[in-house]
Symmetry: C2
Subunit: 394 residues, 2 copies
């Protein structure tokens, strides 16, 4: 992949071109992750397999693609950016592992989460291992891209990790203090810190720095990454709701089961009547059903009873046994449906779609203003990516 | 604290001098941790309080003292080493938080562990925050001690984190595969990786680098740190056993409750009869009593029944209820006593004391050979510290 001559492609890149570009970035990034963090490392025992677990489950490699596109678009070389791109992708996967523990998520990219598969101790350790191993490739940048760019990339990554941690802290603080009176600005600030820095701003900045960009070029990339990040996260939250409840059972609305503060949910709570708000907050305060399949069993019992395969007294006995295993009431499927219905009645989904579209437009405007990024397939890819990130809801 | 003129103190430093030196290092290190990671940071919400929680619970500040002593002993300045010393201490505390989650420990420095106090999600996040925040002060070393030493310290820290992670992985792998046929060399390798690098080797090396040491001075410091680390960890494991079972109840032998692979336990398993070994492994395979106070309640019930405050049928009812909360048998106090007795009968405690003493002697010999470290109170402190680390058992 080398910079093409300016203007050879229409812009933005078509969905097909974008898919191809992303797939190519994913392939070379996976190879680099394996080289830097995989089985080549000595003495790591079976740890390296667990490190590669999340990266090799798939995913779009959006972050490496951003680093690669901006670096090549600025005339830099793939070799200059690839280890940094792979390292940022590893950070992402380490955060995912620890987020999954913190959010008590069960499912990630079509498989059980790492802590469900291997237990919390192993999952904490694997995430720590990944975070710890990222320092060496970034230090090796000194030989690869020169001292100045290497130090600027290290400083960008140090800043990124602080922002991410602060964002995660805000969200955990909301959970701890049971805070629900939050507006769009609160949500967007949390998303910027928790998601946009490590997913968009730093990959763009690090890619530019690897191509020799100076510090004056970083602020517009921060603005670009912030707007893409907002459009991306709101869209992601909308997608989380979209699955048909009848088809997907507990998979639908994982965010609602978790009680995650999404733009839509916070909007619905602001617009609801005091009675509806109280009821919603009460539901959200209930714990999730246990990972031991409690919900699945409850569903099964409902169905068996409905079709006469289970007597009412038999069902009561089983439910009583289940209740003895837990100390408080859990969320039920009907609760989740009620919350979803509330968001629809309050127009919260449309509100979210509007806001995502606004941020996608802002991102496109910032990108269009980058007069130091010459026309190329890489620039077209970035333009197409803004559409892609936002267009997933349409 | 400045380097005193050579030879003004007898060596090794007396216990009182050592205590004073450690206390002074602790005080200035706490101040530096607060400056770098504490309430001065903006936007961190209540996160900074949790970051300071473990460091401010006390502890000896052994690691910062090692960095400070070697740096000052080589003629370096306190300002040159203090941020690095504080950062290594923060790493240590971050590892403690995540170790406590991984080992399911309940108690740390006289208080409940962070995840018991605040839940696993917060504790994972706080440890990540601490690990993430360490990069910035190490990058700021460029301005403080110059580019060469700063990069050498960063590389030493990168190496340290990899070693620590590999050591932790070995231990978790033993747990996962239920491995118990392990010899002294297996144990010592794990301790070197998991403990000695971040606790002794890297603090010594980073302190020397901050004083301008070159790479040729690092190998003897690695040997010194490895031997101190072995003496320290074996002694620590022995101390964990020493509390009187009658006095301390479940506090005694926390390592035995956890099923931690200690030198003594592995030695006892190697020396025991096949029947004893099978019984020991069976006990070790049982889960710990729950953090919900299961063990404390069992003890209370025993005492109430013994003094006639609880009928036998009442007790049975309560025990039956407790059993319904858990799916498998847990370790009992009698199990722990049996394991302790096995180790005594096999001479495992003496074996451990001998090995700790051997490593302390090796450490003293390496230190005595360091002809590039001139006589000073700082060198005397290091000599005294070897005795101190090992002498805690006597």
């Amino acid at each position: 992949m080398t910079p093409s001559s300016p203007g050879t492609l229409s812009r933005p890149a078509s969905p097909d071109q974008l898919e191809q570009y992303l797939a190519h970035c994913k392939e070379i990034c996976d190879g680099e992750i394996d080289r830097l963090y995989g089985s080549g490392r000595q003495g790591a025992g079976s740890l390296h397999e667990l490190i590669l677990d999340y990266p090799l489950r798939g995913g779009k490699a959006l972050r490496p693609a951003l680093s690669i596109a901006i670096c090549l678009g600025l005339g830099g070389h793939l070799d200059a950016v690839l280890p940094t791109a792979a390292t940022l992708e590893l950070y992402h996967n380490a955060f995912l592992i620890h987020d999954d523990i913190e959010d008590e998520s069960w499912w990630r990219r079509g498989k059980p989460t790492l802590h469900i598969d291997h237990g919390i101790p192993i999952a904490v350790n694997v995430g720590d291992a990944m975070l710890s191993l990222t320092l060496q490739p970034l230090l090796d940048n000194v030989e690869r891209v020169g001292l100045g760019p290497a130090l600027r990339i290290l400083r960008a990554v140090a800043h990124m990790t602080r922002q991410t941690v602060d964002g995660q802290a805000i969200e955990l603080e909301w959970v701890k203090s049971n805070a629900w009176q939050l507006d769009d600005a609160d949500y967007l600030k949390m998303v910027e810190l928790k998601t946009s820095w490590y997913s968009f701003i730093t990959p763009l900045q690090a890619g530019a720095l690897a191509a020799g960009a100076d510090l004056s070029q970083l602020p517009p990339l921060e603005a670009l990454g912030r707007h893409i990040g907002a459009a991306f996260q709101i869209t992601d939250d909308l997608l989380n709701l979209r699955a048909d409840p009848e088809d997907y059972g507990k998979e639908i609305g994982g965010d609602l089961w978790e009680g995650k503060r999404t733009l839509m949910l916070l909007h619905a709570l602001r617009c609801a009547t005091p009675e509806e708000r109280d009821h919603a907050v009460e539901i959200l305060g209930r714990r999730r059903p246990g990972a031991d399949g409690e919900l699945g069993l409850t569903d099964l019992l409902e169905r068996l009873t409905a079709r006469g395969d289970l007597s009412h007294s038999g069902r009561t006995e089983i439910v009583t046994f289940l209740a003895g295993q837990h100390h408080s009431e859990s969320k039920k499927l009907d609760d989740i449906r009620w919350l979803f219905d509330l968001m629809q009645r309050m127009g919260s989904l449309n509100h979210a779609r509007d806001l995502a579209a606004r941020h996608a437009r802002e991102a496109a405007a910032v990108l269009a203003d980058l007069d130091w990024l010459p026309p190329s397939q890489h620039r077209d890819m970035l333009t197409g990516l803004v559409d892609y990130v936002h267009g997933r809801t349409r």
